[in-house]
C-alpha cells in the first residue's frame, strides 16, 4: 500500500507528458488541406538549374497524365487554361537539382549512370496562398531511358496531390 501514491503520481506524470506531446503535435502539424475538385498544373520552372527542354516538357506532360490517370480530380487544367476557375488548387514545380546520367552506363555497369531530378512542389490556392509544400525526387537507376526519371517524379507528385486535395479517392 505504500507504493500507491508513487504509482498514482507516476501515472499522472505519464498522462501529463502524453497530453503535452499530443498538444505539441496538434500545434505543429499543418492544418488539413482543403479538398478541391480541380487542379491546375503550371509549367515546370528551372531558373536555378539548367534543365534540357525535353526534360522540362516531359515532367509537365507526365505530371498531367498521371494526375488524370490516378483520378481524384474532376478536372486537370493546364498552364494558361482560361477555364481554370472556381474550386482549384495550383501546382507550382521548381527544379532544384538535376543530374543527367547515362543509359549506357546503367546498362553496362548496373551501378553507375543514375539520372536524378529534385523538384520542389508548392500547392497554392487561387489567391496565391501556399497550402502545401513538398520536395520530391524522380530517378531512374536500372532500366529505361533518362526521361523515365520524369515519370517517377510525376507518379509521386500525383499521389501527393491526390492524397491531400482530391475530393474522391482515385484508382
Amino acid at each position: 500500500m505504500k507504493r500507491l501514491p508513487v504509482i498514482t503520481v507516476s501515472l499522472l506524470l505519464l498522462f501529463g507528458i502524453c497530453a503535452g506531446v499530443t498538444e505539441f503535435h496538434a500545434q505543429t502539424a499543418p492544418p488539413p488541406a482543403k479538398k478541391v475538385s480541380a487542379i491546375q498544373v503550371l509549367m515546370i520552372q528551372s531558373e536555378e538549374v539548367k534543365l534540357p527542354a525535353e526534360f522540362q516538357v516531359s515532367l509537365y506532360e507526365n505530371l498531367i497524365q498521371q494526375l488524370q490517370k490516378q483520378g481524384g480530380f474532376e478536372h486537370v487544367y493546364r498552364d494558361g487554361d482560361h477555364s481554370a476557375t472556381g474550386d482549384v488548387v495550383i501546382l507550382h514545380s521548381t527544379v532544384r537539382g538535376f543530374k543527367k546520367g547515362s543509359e549506357m552506363a546503367r546498362q553496362v555497369t548496373t551501378v553507375a549512370g543514375k539520372t536524378s531530378i529534385d523538384v520542389h512542389c508548392q500547392f497554392t490556392d487561387k489567391d496565391g496562398t501556399t497550402v502545401l509544400e513538398h520536395d520530391l525526387n524522380g530517378k531512374v537507376r536500372f532500366l529505361g531511358g533518362n526521361l523515365r526519371a520524369t515519370l517517377d517524379f510525376a507518379k509521386k507528385a500525383a499521389t501527393l496531390a491526390r492524397d491531400n486535395f482530391a475530393m474522391k479517392r482515385g484508382s
Binding site: 527542354a53 477555364s83 543527367k100 543509359e103 549506357m104 546498362q107 553496362v108
Partner: protein, 177 residues
C-alpha cells in the same frame, strides 16, 4: 584537239564549288520525317512511331493508328537536341540482356545517335502543351528551320550557316550534350 579555256574554267569552277552545293541539296528535308512521338500529342500513345510533316500550315503527326496535328502558328517554342539509344532494343533488346557472359551488356555499347525535337504549343483554350519527338541524327535542325520559316517561334534562334560569318557571342546555343 584543243579545249577552249572558257570551258576549262567553267568546269574547274563547278568542281571547286561542288562541295558547297552538294550539302545544301542533302539538307533539303523530305516531305515526311520518320519520328517517334515520345510524349505529348493527345490521342497518340507514348513512343508511337509515325511521320511528321508540314501540311497546310499544320504540323501533322500520322501513324498507323492515329493522325493529329497542331497549327504552326500556335507553336510557342521549338528546340532541338540530341541523344543516343541502344541499337538492339524492343523485345529483342530485352532478351539480349539475358545473354550469358555479359553479352547483353556488351551489346549495350552499340548505340545510335538521334535528334530530339521538343515543341510547346497552346490549344484553343490557352492551355500549354508540350511534345517530344526523336528522329534520325541530322534531321531535327532542318525541320526546325522549316517550322520557324512558316511562323513557329523559338527561344533559341536558328543558326543560318549560309550567311552568317561568325556566331553572336550572346546568342544561346542549341543543346549539344
Amino acid at each position: 584537239m584543243r579545249v577552249p579555256l572558257k570551258k576549262v574554267t567553267i568546269r574547274f569552277l563547278f568542281l571547286l564549288f561542288s562541295p558547297l552545293t552538294l550539302p545544301s541539296f542533302a539538307q533539303q528535308p523530305a516531305d515526311a520525317v520518320p519520328v517517334v512521338q515520345v510524349i505529348g500529342f493527345a490521342d497518340v500513345r507514348p513512343n508511337a512511331k509515325g511521320n511528321l510533316k508540314l501540311e497546310n500550315g499544320n504540323l501533322q503527326f500520322s501513324s498507323s493508328k492515329a493522325k493529329t496535328g497542331v497549327a504552326i502558328g500556335s507553336l510557342d517554342d521549338v528546340i532541338t537536341g540530341n541523344d543516343s539509344q541502344r541499337v538492339f532494343r524492343g523485345t529483342f533488346g530485352t532478351l539480349t540482356m539475358l545473354a550469358p557472359y555479359g553479352g547483353g551488356r556488351f551489346l549495350s555499347l552499340f548505340r545510335a545517335k538521334l535528334d530530339t525535337l521538343t515543341i510547346r504549343y497552346r490549344d484553343a483554350g490557352g492551355g500549354l502543351h508540350g511534345a517530344i519527338f526523336t528522329m534520325a541524327a541530322g534531321k531535327a535542325d532542318p525541320f526546325k528551320k522549316l517550322l520557324v520559316a512558316q511562323g513557329a517561334r523559338t527561344s533559341i534562334p536558328v543558326q543560318d550557316d549560309s550567311n552568317s560569318a561568325a556566331p553572336k557571342p550572346d546568342a544561346p546555343k542549341e543543346q549539344k550534350p
